[in-house]
């Protein structure tokens, strides 16, 4: 049997779609880890990036920290976290958060820094206080880059949550690691395929969200430009 029919065979087996280790349950588990880690990463990374971006102070430190974190190998991070904190949901999520914070933080910082100074100046000039300048002018104008950061963090977490199964979690990674353990390569490949599909779906959801969150005024080169 060739590889493709192996995949089709595994995925079309109804037994793999039911019960506590069926695909729907595993997908939900996977999404749960993703959403929780991403939320925590946003709660940490967004205010840090926004604050440093607004004040301009500590920018070098922030970019250095983000790059340093990004350079850590995924599996290594998870292993270290687990070695330090033991097997379980919390350490695994902590590892995912560690991976998601840099893109969120760096995207927010870069977005805020990229807002045209004249616009920020105008915001102060009309009498906005500093927090208002940040919340009402800098953040909305930085939204495309902030969102880009969150989106790439989401993709990274979806992919990496697979590895979390290695340290005892559920989710789609179970198929990969359990499959490897019993040399059921159809199961391994199917698990990987479902992760890939999930990543694409998550990305599409983010593209949709981006349309809602980013002001139409920031769309590049809109048509209907007036002449006089």
């Amino acid at each position: 049997m060739d590889f493709v029919s192996l995949l089709i065979g595994w995925l079309s087996d109804a037994a793999h779609w039911a019960g506590s280790d069926g695909v729907p349950v595993r997908v939900l588990e996977h999404l749960e880890y993703t959403v929780i880690s991403l939320l925590i990463a946003v709660v940490i990374g967004f205010p840090l990036g926004a604050l440093v971006g607004h004040t301009g102070r500590g920018g070098l430190l922030l970019v250095g920290a983000a790059n340093g974190l990004r350079a850590l190998p995924t599996l290594g991070v998870l292993t270290i976290v687990v070695l330090l904190a033991g097997i379980g949901v919390v350490p695994a999520i902590a590892g995912l958060v560690l991976l998601a914070v840099p893109p969120v933080m760096a995207g927010t910082y870069a977005g805020i820094r990229a807002v045209e100074p004249i616009i920020v100046d105008a915001a102060r000039g009309v009498g906005m206080r500093e927090w208002k300048v940040l919340a009402s002018v800098e953040v909305p104008n930085a939204m495309p880059l902030i969102f880009g950061g969150v989106r790439s963090a989401a993709l990274q977490v979806v992919a990496t949550a697979t590895v979390a199964a290695y340290v005892g979690l559920g989710g789609l990674g179970r198929y990969v690691f359990d499959g490897l353990a019993i040399r059921d390569y159809a199961q391994v490949a199917s698990g990987a395929l479902v992760v890939a599909v999930l990543a694409v779906v998550v990305d599409l959801v983010f593209i949709g969200l981006q349309r809602l969150v980013v002001s139409p005024g920031l769309a590049p080169a809109k048509s209907g430009k007036a002449s006089a």
């Binding site: 616009i119 100046d121 915001a123 009309v126 906005m128 002018v137 920031l218 209907g224 007036a226």
Partner: protein, 372 residues
């Protein structure tokens, strides 16, 4: 209204941008700060709304030392218009204009309806309110910038080179509009520009700055042209200042001569008979001048006097409001050397000549009306 008392600004790097500025801005008038780039105009302006804090000296707005005001609150009470408008790209035009009312605690509805009213005041169609700044032209953005600054009807308006990024034709329109607006609103306006022509056109008073942040002269535009304080001001004010000074002399009493005129569509032979010294001005049915015909030109055509046979005319001189400068210019720019005089409605009144303008200038001089 605004008082600068020995105001100096020294930046952290040691640059003295404004040096001991003493100046009093008249209420309800347009005061222009003009000077070469880097002479401290922007710094002087921004010290008024505390976008920059003075290093020493005192600034009073409406008799009150601005150091005693909380900067954001102070700024909400002072309109501020900057170059390239600085509109918020993520907000609609209407929401841009509603910014200060909302900051000042107005409810959303009232702020929006005030914003709509302001769009009309600055001459923008209300449907532009729904657009975003990127969808407007430079001139339209600048109007929105003015509307935003006027939203809570502040008594003081600070304008920093608001029109310098738009093309000359649009700029002239915006300047005229500002003067019209000021006629109705009577704001205390401080206007910064590096363009001396703009300064002279807009300013009730003009402060000329020299490099190093020193005030070189503070005067009415006519005085500036007639009596520059020193060589720097004289050279900054420019070459044609004698000619431009005519712009401040009223043309009251300038004799208006008769002028041969024909109506567009007149048969050519009748038009030939109407010429005087070989020329006639052609008017439309409302008596508005549309061009000239000459004996030369008419000798080569028959039929009717149509747009095609016209020689284009020069500038028009308005007998109700024109200055000696506009009278002289109309004579100098006319193909027949006769300036075309019109009334306030644009209808033909008669002619003026350069000789008569110079005679009027001489008698104004004798009467002591020309500053010496």
């Amino acid at each position: 209204m605004i008082e600068f008392q020995a105001v100096t600004k020294r930046f952290d790097d040691g640059t003295v941008a404004v040096d001991e500025l003493n100046l009093s801005v008249d209420p309800g008038r347009i005061t222009v700060f003009v000077g070469p780039s880097g002479c401290g105009k922007t710094t002087s302006l921004r010290m008024v709304n505390r976008m920059i804090d003075a290093s020493s000296g005192t600034i009073l707005v409406d008799g009150k030392d601005i150091r005693q005001s909380d900067p954001p609150l102070l700024r909400r009470g002072i309109g501020y218009v900057i170059q390239q408008a600085g509109l918020f790209p993520h907000r609609t035009v209407l929401d841009n204009v509603a910014t200060v009312p909302l900051l000042s605690g107005w409810d959303r509805r009232k702020a929006r309806s005030r914003a709509a009213e302001l769009l009309e005041i600055v001459g923008l169609p209300s449907e532009l309110g729904k657009r975003y700044p990127a969808q407007l032209s430079g001139g339209q953005q600048q109007r929105v910038g003015v509307a935003r600054a006027l939203a809570v009807d502040p008594p003081v308006l600070l304008m920093d080179e608001p029109f310098s990024a738009v093309d000359p034709v649009v700029r002239e329109g915006l300047q005229d509009e500002l003067l019209r607006l000021q006629d109705e609103l009577d704001k205390t306006i401080v206007f910064v520009t590096h363009d001396i022509d703009e300064a002279i056109k807009l300013g009730d008073k003009v402060a000329v700055f020299r490099t190093g942040g020193k005030l070189a002269q503070y005067d009415k535009p006519s005085e500036l042209l007639a009596r520059p304080a020193d060589d720097f001001v004289a050279s900054f004010v420019g070459r044609d200042r004698g000619y431009r000074a005519l712009g401040f002399l009223s043309a009251d009493g300038l004799p208006v001569g008769e002028l041969a005129s024909v109506v567009l569509g007149t048969p050519v032979d009748q038009a030939r008979a109407a010429l005087r010294q070989g020329w006639a001005v052609v008017v439309d049915e409302r008596k508005h001048p549309v061009g000239w015909v000459s004996a030369d030109r008419l000798s080569t055509v028959d039929g009717l006097v149509t747009e095609d046979v016209l020689l284009s005319g020069g500038s028009l001189y308005d007998v109700d409001s024109g200055s000696l400068r506009s009278a002289l210019d109309s004579a100098l720019s006319s193909p027949s050397a006769l300036g075309v005089a019109v009334d306030g409605t644009g209808a033909l009144v008669g002619s003026v000549t350069a000789d008569e303008v110079l005679r009027a200038l001489a008698s104004a001089r004798d009467a002591g009306e020309v500053p010496q």
